[in-house]
Symmetry: C2
């Protein structure tokens, strides 16, 4: 195994490609494809070793199949839009190529991401003898692997999981989203949801918040939102009683969100403009700064981790596993900010696991079903060092005080 | 003179048509035309007497000429978009028909309204023997006529004029504009401007504000913006030292404006979307509730007037002339809210002045150059009663404290 095909040359995909180009001991051949070959060429020009570029429309399975037949990759990493997960998976299935992505499928016409479309590929992938690795970015991805690690090495029983995600960076723009604006806003504007005692409970968007004390950042107001890793973690973490996901949003971000929603700019149904159908959310994306443009002059850090409460050797135990990433340091290395970096690096770590035989098998799996320890060791070497600390029962008091 | 042609069947134009239909003693024949004849037919169905409807594209002078030749009006009232003032004036010039409008020309590609395009028609209108009456809505329009009245009957010298415009209504929507959103937002988002000692002084948008005490409403925060009547009033009010225009905006309106500007939704240059040029401000208009839809359930009042400071018989004198209009009362009469009503009724009063020979002459004039008293008497009869009160020097203290 030595050939890698990456589809998607956006903010995160470009990091994945650049990181692949830094790991030529494992990835002998690196191919990058996207809708616009000029985007790929721009990334290739910044890679430390040569990579090949291609044009592909990932909405069209046949186009992806043709590209695969030309490139003959061992693994296809999908860094394109979540809408394109299924067409790309179909192409992998048709050609017998391993598949990996960082975000689960959602239909274009409905902001409702779920594994319910991708998990059913499991028997087909098994039959074909290939592996589909879902959600191998940071969150989902590293967050899931923190959970797998905690389950295997730190706890006898995990009772509650709180995934906490803070971007304390400042990009100097009045408003911008840190990854694809369309996907970001779809995620935030949908109803919140958490899982407790065997079922998901919905809440109105952004109606539950608390202060989370983020390592190397400090306490920040965080909102309970639904995030896709919860769907797989409730299956794969045994004995779990509750899982919640928290994300920081500044007042200015919330203000923008309020207004954009109230005027209808986050709608995903077409609105006629001079006889031409325009989807407001997609048009908004054209107006906002592309996330890949935010890297330069971006200061501050991301601080993302998972807080566990459970039992070890008969005693209550709380642990916080986290990773802190500096925007400016990322930019210096790969000309991208930390949100793109934390999403774009883990697929390369996962690919290394697969190419070196540490990860393997067939079917469709989430990353917490694969060995966690070697992944985390490699993750630290690839630019995302992580930390673990045991919490006192008085730590993160505001978070644990929110009874949901 | 007995035939009236109204072009424009939007929120204000529909009021003008309905009011014309209530004054058949003067207007024997009433014609309403707009881009969509269905809009005209909907208005006609609500008129108390029958009016005729037509389709016309007012961007095309030749189309307007054809309509005029068919209808043979004595006066054309332009209630269309300000972009269309010149094509319509050209049509009047070609056919020898009197012209009236309520908002001065501005080019589509630049939010810069000014009389500099329309005033040069004066010699051509004179030569053709027709009259062009500019700005005969409420403000500009009634506000100018209040000034003419004050100059002729109340003061020896007017030193300062503050036009104050408050809409204290509540339409129950999270965000909507009270007239054409595109025109409204272009007006508010441009730089502020006031006139002092012979010259216009520019300020950043919405950077000067004060509390104005509005009759029948109370004190409301008001922002200094530029408004088109200032350009003609500084010519026509003699001895003037300062003129300013103030408008109320609620915190929610300002918040929406901030965000819409910061994301680029008020831009008037085209942005490519799937290969199709989309002008953000125009697209926004498609998303917002049409002003004509705001009438039902609209509560509260508009309170608009002019505050004068000057000299009479050697002594300082301050006068406030104002009009208060109730949204629900307007809706009951003509199925429109007060902002549309106050804009749509004055053209009918002006047309009555012209048809009955009280207003006359040739060339292009602003309404303050025409007899004010008969207009104001008729205005009160047509649903817009107005009031006048002398102010103590301690009244409107906050307004007079703003030294610009």
């Amino acid at each position: 195994m030595d050939t890698l095909l990456i589809i998607g040359a956006g903010a995160a995909g470009s990091v994945t490609a650049k990181k692949a180009a830094m790991n030529r001991d494992v990835f002998k051949n690196v191919h990058l494809a996207s809708r616009r070959i000029s985007s790929c060429d721009a990334v290739a020009a910044q890679c430390v070793t040569p990579i090949k570029t291609h044009q592909v429309d990932a909405d069209i399975t046949e186009a992806v199949i043709q590209l695969i037949e030309q490139v003959k990759p061992d693994l296809l990493i999908n860094m394109a839009l979540p809408y394109q997960d299924l067409t790309i998976m179909d192409a992998c299935l048709a050609t017998g190529v391993h598949y990996m992505d960082t975000a689960n499928y959602e239909p274009r016409e409905e902001a409702k991401f779920s594994y319910s479309w991708q998990w059913p590929y499991d028997p087909k992938f098994k039959e074909k003898g290939i592996l589909g690795i879902l959600g191998c970015g940071f969150d989902p991805g590293v967050s899931n692997i923190f959970c797998a690690y905690a389950q295997e090495y730190l706890f006898d029983e995990i009772h509650t999981i709180d995934i906490v995600d803070c971007n304390d960076g400042n990009h100097g723009k009045s408003f911008a989203t840190n990854f694809n604006p369309e996907i970001n806003l779809r995620e935030v504007t949908q109803r919140g949801k958490y899982w407790k005692d065997g079922q998901f409970i919905e809440i109105d968007p952004l109606t539950i918040s608390c202060m989370v004390d983020y390592p190397e950042v400090g306490p920040r107001k965080s909102y309970l939102i639904y995030h896709e890793e919860e769907e797989s973690l409730v299956r794969n973490i045994k004995g779990l009683k509750q899982i919640r996901f928290w994300m920081t949003f500044g007042d200015n971000y919330i203000k923008h969100l309020d207004v954009l929603q109230s005027v209808g700019m986050t709608r995903i149904d077409p609105v006629m403009y001079k006889g031409f159908p325009v989807i407001p959310m997609e048009f908004l994306k054209e107006l906002l700064p592309p996330p890949s443009s935010l890297g330069e002059n971006y200061t501050g850090r991301t601080s993302i981790g998972v807080i566990f409460d459970g039992i070890k050797d008969g005693k209550q135990k709380r642990v916080f596993i986290y990773q802190v990433c500096d925007h400016a340091v990322c930019y210096k290395e790969v000309q991208a900010q930390a949100v793109s970096y934390t999403t774009g690096v883990p697929p390369i770590v996962g690919a290394k696991m697969l190419f070196t035989g540490i990860w393997g098998g067939t079917g469709v799996v989430n990353v917490e079903q694969l060995p966690s320890k070697p992944f985390l060791e490699e993750l630290a070497k690839q630019g995302l060092p992580w930390h673990m600390k045991e919490l006192a029962l008085t730590d993160q008091a505001d978070l644990f005080a929110v009874k949901t």
